[in-house]
Amino acid sequence: MRLERRAAASAAMAVLAPVIAVMLAGLGAAALFAALGRDPLACLYTLFIAPLADGNGWSELGLKATPLLLCAMGIAVGVRANVWNIGAEGQFTMGAIAGAAVALGLGDAGWFVLPLVLVAGVAGGAAWGGVAAWLRTRCNAHEILVTLMLSYVAIQILGWLVRGPMQDPEGFNFPQSPMFAASAMLAPLFEGGRVTGALVLALLTVPAGAVLLDRTVAGYRLRVVGLAPGAARYAGFSERRAVWFCLLLSGGLAGLAGVCEVAGPIGQLMPSISPGYGFAGIIVAFLGRLRPVGILFAAVLMALLYLGGESLQITQQLPLAATGVIQGMLLLFLLAADVFTLFRPRFSRSHGDG
């Protein structure tokens, strides 16, 4: 079998590839469960169906989809402009830290605390993305490495803060900050669920992202910079500006995701505020074909994987790593299926003989 480049990318495969990848990842997951000595069908049921059996499950789905959607949207806009923000995890963390600093500093001062907390979260994430933008435009240090490495810096800063300056003095020396005051917190959308108004903000990024990319001249410039840097130079579109815009935007959105977690379901700062939302956001962005509506579906699917993964731990005593393996398989199969959008397989009878 040989791969032959298609004359034009296959539109059908572009849509089919994520579907095929999800199905193959499901098969791979079943094989993994069987290898671990579990009943594959029961595990798949636990993973994909059981979490949505009740209203609380749907609320949790929205809760988990929110940060994934926010992180992935920013990443996707960046990748469309060929700006690769791999460090949404770090911007998420810095957003959470900045929001927490405002929340803890202002306490229960009034209604205006929550908006300030959210703005601080966006600013914190954007600033962390801005470091990478500055290093890229000033020193030509590639953002893939810089954003990734800055993620670990951010996580270490968080670890230090919750054991030092921001540690709760009455927290029995647990590494965590005091709980935020009520006026610094996002209220649940409805009684009994944990999902907050952050979900609405995240959902708003879907039409906003679509309009930005498809209708505005700013989005057009980003796409041209991403598709053809030579054409962007010819047209006079600034690559530096695209780098700054994308890293500030995706950093800000990841920061918003972070602050909405700590000012929402978590309510305080602690070392583990994210089960890898920032990194999973990369998978979500690509699974959603870098398009806002696709990303919405992909974020819901990935949220389901998180929920199902938790159920697997409880009911099947599988390790958390099993979820990570399934996420990895999903990305791997997606990339493999994607090859066929640009190439077609060609089967030849004879090979290599003269």
Binding site: R221, A231, Y234, G236
Partner: protein, 503 residues
């Protein structure tokens, strides 16, 4: 018995998806023959030579080499048979010497010193002046081509394929190349010569096979056939002769360049030194020169992709704009058509409508940050109709158009923005004859309408056919522009080779 053809093709067919690139092609190249393969872009010439050189496999058909059926699995197999090919784009390592580059292409383990002696011997036999110890990045494009040819000759080929070899050469270098090819043919080597320059084919070739739409549409003796007849075979219809039209006397200076210096961007680029000229409204000024003498840098310096040292170095319609970027200069009335289309003056993945916006962000297609798609689409449709662009519609991706149609669309787009100055770099490069004529026509009309047109081209024929005045760029310096009527091809050729620089 008649002599066996060195290479015989029978019914060669090759499909790419829905398109048939080669459709039942028959071709015979005799020993010692210089055989021209003629055809417009997309006629199937490159696919055919790739099949002969083993790069592409045919779906059907037979290849016979000296009478015996063969299967050419890859270029190694082709070379083993005795087929050599000089591609249009060279594959040389700039940081290695000539001998080292040639050694890389040869399978045998021969010492560089021994190889160098062989290179010198072969080079002098065919009148190719090449120093095996020089680094390739010091060589001119013409010299690099000689290295590629030498690489083939060292393998004692029986068939040499040359793909559009003269586009990078000065007229004098072309003469040298032809003498070398004639000598090679006299020794019995066959040459398959691909070109669309009819005068060259008439001067050089013994026979010509004409391709159109993937099929052989005719064969002729180019020495006994008129260029017009061959061109008509190529495009399948009669050529429309351009009508000479009165041009208004050149008007005010619309683009004044004074002492433009621009350092090379990379170690193998060219530094512009004190480039000066004045372009008047209504005239077409041509800048000739061999590729790699600063054309890229000049275009970038004029359009604002790269900024000049001082504002006064580039004055556009009275405004000093040497320090303004590309978008600002476009607002001031500058339009540009770079040589490369996809990835430069157009984005392959975007539709024609979206490509129309590439240089239209300053001229009314944007309102409060939003793209106004309705007028943009009308504009794109207007360009498609006005310039007879063959496309599936305004929503067709740019990458789906042929080179000639894409270039017509780009030129139409730039003209549609009503510029004061239009700069076009080799506007008919890789464009078929019909489209080239339409493009030249459009540029003449534009100048007649009072726009200053600057043509930067390596194709001297194009410059002489189109321009009122001509200057030559060599080594980053520009000669004084002279009226075309007052120059000779030889004179320009010498300037292109840098001979007049010493004076």
């Amino acid at each position: 018995m008649a002599q066996l053809p060195r290479l015989g093709l029978g019914g060669i067919t090759r499909r790419f998806g829905a398109t048939v690139a080669n459709d039942g092609i028959d071709l015979a190249v005799m020993p010692g023959e210089i055989h021209a393969l003629l055809g417009e872009n997309g006629a199937g010439k490159s696919t055919l030579v790739k099949i002969i050189y083993g790069v592409v496999q045919p779906d059907a058909g037979e290849i016979r080499w000296e009478g015996a059926a063969v299967r050419i699995a890859d270029p190694n197999a082709a070379r083993a048979l005795g087929i050599g090919m000089v591609f249009q784009h060279f594959s040389l390592f700039e940081t290695l010497t000539v001998a080292e580059n040639i050694a890389l292409g040869l399978a045998a383990s021969e010492s560089i010193a021994a190889l160098s002696r062989r290179i010198v011997a072969t080079a002098s036999r065919y009148g190719l002046a090449v120093d095996p110890d020089r680094h390739v990045h010091h060589l001119s494009v013409g010299e690099r081509q000689r290295v590629e040819i030498l690489r083939c000759l060292l393998q004692a080929p029986k068939l040499l394929i040359m793909d559009e070899p003269t586009s990078v050469l000065t007229p004098q270098e072309v003469e040298g190349l032809f003498a070398m090819l004639r000598r090679l043919a006299a020794e019995g080597c066959s040459v398959l010569y691909i070109s669309h320059k009819l005068a060259e084919i008439q001067a050089l070739c013994d026979r010509a096979t004409v391709l159109r739409g993937g099929r052989v549409v005719g064969a002729c003796d180019p020495r006994a056939t008129s260029a017009a007849a061959m061109a008509e075979m190529m495009i399948g219809q009669a050529l429309v002769r351009p009508v000479a039209r009165a041009r208004p006397a050149a008007g005010a200076v619309v683009l004044a360049v004074e002492g433009l210096d621009l350092p090379a961007e990379d170690p193998f680029g060219t530094t512009l030194r004190g480039v000066s000229f004045a372009l008047r409204a209504g005239e077409i000024l041509g800048i000739a020169g061999v590729a790699g003498n600063g054309q890229k840098e000049l275009l970038a310096g004029l359009t604002g992709e790269r900024l000049a040292g001082t504002a006064e170095a580039v004055v556009l319609a009275g405004v000093a704009c040497g320090l303004l970027g590309a978008a600002a200069r476009r607002r001031g009335g500058m339009a540009a058509v770079p040589e490369e289309r996809l990835g430069r003056s157009a984005v392959a993945e975007l539709s024609l409508t979206e490509n129309a916006l590439l240089t239209g962000t300053e001229v009314g297609f944007v309102a409060r940050g939003f793209v106004r798609f309705a007028p943009l689409r009308r504009f794109a449709r207007g360009v498609i109709e006005g310039f007879r662009v063959v496309a599936a519609g305004a929503e067709a991706p740019a990458g789906s158009l042929s080179g000639g149609n894409m270039q017509k669309f780009i030129i139409g787009r730039e003209i549609g923005h009503a510029p004061k100055v239009l700069i076009a770099a080799h506007p008919t490069w890789g464009v078929d004859v019909g489209a080239a004529q339409a493009i030249h026509e459009a540029l003449r009309d534009l100048a007649a309408g009072g726009v200053g047109v600057l043509i930067i081209s390596e194709d001297l024929d194009e410059i002489l056919a189109l321009c009122d005045r001509v200057a030559v760029l060599h080594g980053g310096r520009l000669s004084v522009p002279e009226p075309v009527a007052a120059v000779t091809v030889d004179g320009i050729g010498l300037l292109m080779g840098g001979v007049a620089d010493a004076a």
